[in-house]
């Protein structure tokens, strides 16, 4: 169960804002990885980031369910390749692998 405080923290709370920002960045990175067919080891992530273990498990599960909507084998053309180069470039953001 993701604590409500992590997602619906009180407005203006810098602590909750920071948690949200980290989770938002990770959720987007997980979505990109799963979309690219990269393996995502939930238990490894949970062990590496125990403070976010529940959130990460829930995110992976939900994202995997959402990716059923992506048509398999569809030609992918555009501004991004299999892995988005933009992810983690922001010096203020934290990548899953960096923490």
């Amino acid at each position: 169960m993701i604590p409500n405080s992590a997602i619906d923290g009180p407005p203006g709370s810098s602590e909750f804002d920071e948690v949200d920002s980290v989770l938002a960045e990770w959720a987007s990175e997980l979505a990109d990885r799963i979309r690219a067919g990269e393996p995502v080891d939930q238990e490894y992530l949970a062990a590496r980031h125990p403070e976010y273990a529940d959130q990460l498990r829930h995110l992976v599960r939900t994202i995997k369910m959402m990716t059923v909507l992506i048509v398999p084998g569809r030609s992918k053309q555009g501004v991004h390749g299999p892995v988005h180069p933009e992810v983690g470039r922001d010096e203020h953001s934290r990548r899953l692998s960096d923490v």
Binding site: S28, T62, M65, I70, V71, R74, V79, H80
Partner: protein
Amino acid sequence: MAINDSETESLLRQAGRGDDAALGRLLELYRPRLKQMVSIRLDRRVATRLDPSDVVQDALADAGMNLKDYLREPPIPFYPWLRRFAQERVIQLHRQHLFAEKRSLFREQSGQVFLPDEATIQLADLLASSQSTPSQQLIRGELCQQVRQLLDRLSPRDREVLVLRYLEDLSFPEIALAVGLNEGAVKMRHLRALERIRVLLNSEDEVPQ
């Protein structure tokens, strides 16, 4: 300067030098992706009268006519720019075919993105047809149906970001351009929409006593 992948950049340069064949190849590269977008966005009532391929063809023609302006100083990457023509076509068709009937049939989204109430209805058919065996089609179709029902229960704002990411398969920078938000805001909206989906899933799992 907008950033595109190397193949797109190469074709853009050739097209800019007047190579019509390169222009054709460039537009063809993106035709499947645009068709997917139009198929998702086109209201079912309009889709019974029009083939999404025709809408894409018109959008590509529009883009071809405006390509010189784009090449002069690309304001955004190529696909988000191209997608806008398809989006404009879909909006025009909805206005033409349905707005006269009942304006309230639609919900206007920020950034001029229209998401018809039935935007995800075609999902099961669209996705099931992409599978190779009947059993795979069945399983995938059922799962898609479940996801579709969850999407329908989201607010338009939450649903839109998930449709753009998981149905249209747009990257987060592309979504930001499509909805007129910065990338951080889009990622936050994505997180919250996923959380809503999870809450809905949990509520479905709860068996009434």
